[in-house]
């Protein structure tokens, strides 16, 4: 024994180190890619915060002048206020909704799941337009709210609609993977329902809850589209960026506000690190999945709750659908299909829609591969802590960057005459790269969450069987994570269909996107046509999602059978 141990240890280290080396090289390459698509373009713009308008270095002068303006402080307070309120509404609601989907017996579960996703299929223009139709000064239900929809209330309602699916998706992932043995044990020990909830359910979902809160908070803080349409005079940081960059072409000040907006992301990163340290794999090799049993009172309550939430979502979507058919709101309410003849409102007509499809497909394919392989490298590489920390930080950045900042940064970086990559500028490829970068965070988080749930035993066993790590990746890890991989692909696709703020700076004559066209059409006053284009986008993404669900069922049936007892 004492003789055999050292030799086997050496043999093990040698066989491992080839894998380790491979993965470390991969990880360094990943850092390189992330630097190119996230950090350097971002810095290309943020560096302007330290320059005056003529490009001379001025140190912190811009920051000092910005922080001494009372308007900023006001905007920052407003941003935090609105983000905090939205988080406080969305996270508990999403938790309950996800709980209903995963832990209760819900009639028509697939339908509720589908409806909860609708907001993510819609450009952020849509809830704003629908709210004006519903509660605006000419709205059908303007009497229901005690004041003007323009301002704080409007932003909160629209943001809650918009952020709900993001939080629900994270909570479903967190609640879906429970070990039934824990509940059986609690039951056997005679723990009360409330005690089980606080000692088993909640701790298991803790990481999901915190992630959901961070995602919602930063989404609200950085989103500009909603504040622009429905925000009234309620100034937020994102509208400040718009004023500086679009209104006054003052990139220096825009960069300063952009930097301020990174604060929540830095916070999110720190919190995430702290929480992750305590996170353990839920789905150990011996875990037994939890399958909810019918229980009348509980199921009735959650069915009612989900019906209520779904009704709210459908009301907003339905209003937009009706609005898209109205001839001239509010003076001629007769219906027409003319608003779907997009060539009458935008020179590119339907062409921009097909550009969007191409862009979204490219983003889904390239982005999913990069994010999943990247997250895998980051999770499974042993040691190399500093580099892994850098990957984690770079992956978190995009979530907190307002699209305007990222888009302009892309111009400065990818259009620089001395950048060898500048052939990419003004092509479809730059739109794909930009969108992958913009939505990197959630894809990375989803992949990481999925990978964390796999017991490291799989790798250890493979390693001791001398199976190269990439074979384990291809034969075990990727198939196990296939649902998550599909989720990431769909997430990227639907976001690519709706994204505006960053790509608006990057499209070329032949690559205009439908989401940008919708904003242009709305600005030109043809609200109904803008609503129509938003709906075409919603229907497309919903159709793609429906295909995904079918594929999921088929693949889950074949590849995920082991999850069942």
């Amino acid at each position: 024994m004492s003789l055999a141990a050292p030799t086997s240890k050496i043999a093990l280290r040698i066989s491992l180190s080839r894998d380790d080396l491979l993965m470390r090289v991969g990880l360094v390459a990943l850092v390189g890619v992330l630097l190119l698509i996230v950090a350097l373009p971002l810095w290309a713009l943020l560096a302007k915060g330290f320059e005056d308008r003529d490009g001379h270095y001025v140190g912190l002068a811009n920051y000092i002048s910005y922080f001494s303006t009372p308007a900023l402080f006001n905007s920052a307070l407003n941003s935090f206020h609105v983000a905090a309120v939205c988080t406080a509404i969305v996270v508990p609601a999403a938790f309950m909704y996800a709980y209903a989907l995963t832990r209760t017996v819900l009639p028509g579960k697939w339908l509720f799941q589908g409806i909860s996703l609708i907001p993510i299929f819609a450009p952020s223009l849509l809830p704003g337009l629908a709210l004006v139709y519903l509660f605006g000064n000419q709205g059908f239900f303007k009497g229901l709210i005690g004041g003007s929809i323009y301002g704080f209330d409007g932003i909160v309602i629209a943001q809650v609609f918009y952020c709900f699916p993001h939080a629900t998706m994270i909570m479903v992932t967190a609640l879906a993977t429970a070990d039934a043995r824990l509940y059986e044990a609690a039951d056997a020990l005679g723990a009360s329902k409330i005690r089980v909830f606080f000692t088993v359910t909640l701790p298991g979902a803790k990481y999901g809850l915190i992630s959901a809160a961070l995602v919602v908070f930063t989404l609200v803080i950085t989103d500009f589209g909603i504040a622009k349409v429905i925000g009234g005079n309620f100034n937020v940081l994102a509208t400040d960026v718009y004023k500086q960059v679009i209104g006054q072409q003052n990139f220096s000040m825009g960069a300063v506000v952009g930097m301020v907006l990174l604060a929540p992301a830095a916070l999110a990163f720190l919190v995430d690190r702290l929480v992750q340290r305590k996170q353990v794999a839920l789905l150990t090799a011996r875990a037994v999945p939890l399958i909810p049993k019918p229980k009348f009172g509980r199921d009735l309550f959650f069915t009612a709750f989900c019906t209520l939430v779904s009704a709210g979502i459908l009301a907003i979507l339905g209003m937009a659908a009706w609005g898209s058919l109205i001839k001239y709101w509010p003076y001629n309410l007769s219906l027409t299909l003319a608003n779907y003849e997009f060539a009458n409102f935008d020179a590119n007509g339907w062409e921009s829609y097909f550009n969007s499809l191409r862009m979204a497909a490219g983003t889904a394919i390239v982005g999913t591969a990069l994010m999943f392989v990247g997250a895998w490298l980051n999770e499974k590489t042993r040691g190399f802590g500093v580099i892994r920390g850098i990957v984690q930080l770079l992956a978190f950045l995009p979530m907190a960057v307002p699209g305007i900042v990222l888009g302009l940064g892309y111009i400065f970086f990818f259009n620089a005459p001395n950048n060898p990559l500048n052939f990419l500028y003004a092509t479809m490829a730059i739109l794909v790269i930009n969108t992958v970068a913009h939505f990197y965070t959630v894809g990375h988080l989803t992949a990481t969450t999925a990978l964390k749930q796999i017991d490291p035993e799989f790798e250890s066993v493979s390693a001791s069987l001398k199976v190269p790590i990439w074979k384990t990746f291809g034969r075990v890890t990727a198939p196990i994570c296939l649902p998550a991989i599909l989720d990431i692909a769909i997430y990227l696709f639907v976001n690519a269909m709706t994204t505006v703020s960053s790509v608006i700076f990057l499209y070329a004559p032949d690559t205009k996107l439908a989401s940008v066209a919708a904003v242009n059409i709305e600005e030109a006053g043809t609200t109904a046509a803008a609503a129509a284009l938003c709906l075409v986008i919603v229907v497309t993404s919903a159709a793609v999602k429906a295909l995904h669900l079918l594929a999921d069922r088929f693949l889950l049936g074949r590849l995920q059978a082991w999850r069942r007892r």
Partner: protein
């Protein structure tokens, strides 16, 4: 196998994306492709392109169109490696900024002599030539006025009457060029002191400062607000579509802005760019502008688009473009301090 297939997918996807970007496209086509940045209205893009290409069959226009603010920001951001050949239809103040940054190729187009002096940069050779002028008018919803028994205003001073409380929208000058020219117009007409005093009083009646120059007249047209101060052409087209609005030119006069044409320094298609600049200042082109705008650069064009206020041109304030550019930061800072900082959500 898993890894190779993923690698293959990445490569394939990359190839697809590259193919989709048009590398196989019209690179060897006969025509010169001219990249033209613009902020003209969407419905003008096709007719403008067709008209120019009919006269210049060897040149093809590729538009990049967005709102004035986005196009201006994009052009400045691209300064070190310009992608545009020509700017056809962007605010004169933006081009003035580009000229001061050395981004414009000076060129006096063939037909420049025929244009009104106001529609030229005044430099030799010209840095830009004008196409049309637009005004910041008052769009007044008559249907809502009837419901609320509100009188129709005829002057800016009328707007400060208490009966219009919370019923006016105008563009935020910090977000919108139209907003700035409106404010600068008031300061020009009334003088600084009286101008700020007027805006203090107006502020009491403003329901919201919007982020675009088109939005105020659109909101007035849809009855969302009683009236909006904004871009004239948007009001006219909304009226044509059936909106119950009147376009009012207040009797004190009003602020305005021009749309102009300029050539980008460093363009690889200078000859074609000059052809477009020549065309843009031609009588033919001016007649085309006249279908959309009441005030165009060529004095012989006398056309009045549908639903346009007839007396706009003579009411244009004597705006000093250089003064406007030089004092922009100061005015916006003052405006923001007075009206934007304290914009807590107010109950209507």
């Amino acid at each position: 196998m898993g890894k190779t297939s993923i690698l293959r997918r990445v490569v394939l996807a990359g190839a697809t994306v590259l193919a989709a970007t048009g590398f196989g496209g019209s690179a060897w086509a006969q025509k010169t492709k001219l990249t033209v940045y613009t902020a003209i209205e969407n419905e003008q893009l096709e007719p403008f392109k067709k008209a120019f290409e009919a006269d210049n069959p060897t040149i093809e226009i590729a538009w990049v169109r967005d709102s004035t603010g986005v196009v201006t920001a994009k052009l400045i951001a691209e300064k070190d490696n310009p992608r545009a050949d020509v700017i056809w239809g962007l605010a004169a103040s933006s081009i003035g900024l580009f000229a001061s940054l050395g981004m414009i190729e000076p060129y006096t187009p063939a037909n420049a002599a025929a244009l009104k002096p106001m529609f030229k940069s005044g430099k030799n050779p010209e840095t830009w030539v004008g196409m049309d002028a637009y005004l910041a008018v008052l769009c007044f919803n008559t249907a809502e006025a009837e419901k609320g028994k509100k009188a129709k205003p005829t002057s800016w001073a009328d707007l400060t009457k208490p009966e219009y409380k919370d019923s006016i929208v105008m563009p935020n000058p910090a977000s919108s060029g139209t907003g700035y020219l409106t404010v600068a117009g008031w300061l020009t007409i009334m003088g600084e002191d009286a101008g700020w005093k007027f805006m203090d009083a107006l502020h009491q009646n403003v329901a919201q400062y919007l982020h675009s120059g088109s939005a105020p007249c659109v909101q007035a047209a849809k009855g969302e607000r009683l009236m909006g101060i904004g871009f004239d052409m948007r009001g006219a087209t909304e009226k044509t579509k059936g909106a119950p609005i009147d376009l009012i030119v207040p009797k004190e006069g009003l602020g305005w802005e021009m749309e102009v044409t300029a050539i980008m320094k460093g363009t690889k298609n200078l000859e074609a760019a000059k052809k477009l600049a020549d065309y843009s200042s031609s009588l033919k082109a001016n007649e085309m502008y006249g279908k959309y705008y009441a005030i165009v650069a060529n004095p012989t064009v006398k056309s009045m688009p549908v639903n346009y206020p007839p007396d706009g041109e003579k009411m244009m304030a004597k705006m000093d473009v250089e003064w406007m550019a030089k004092n922009r930061e100061r005015i916006l800072a003052e405006w923001t301090k007075r009206y934007d900082g304290k914009s807590a959500p107010k109950a209507k």
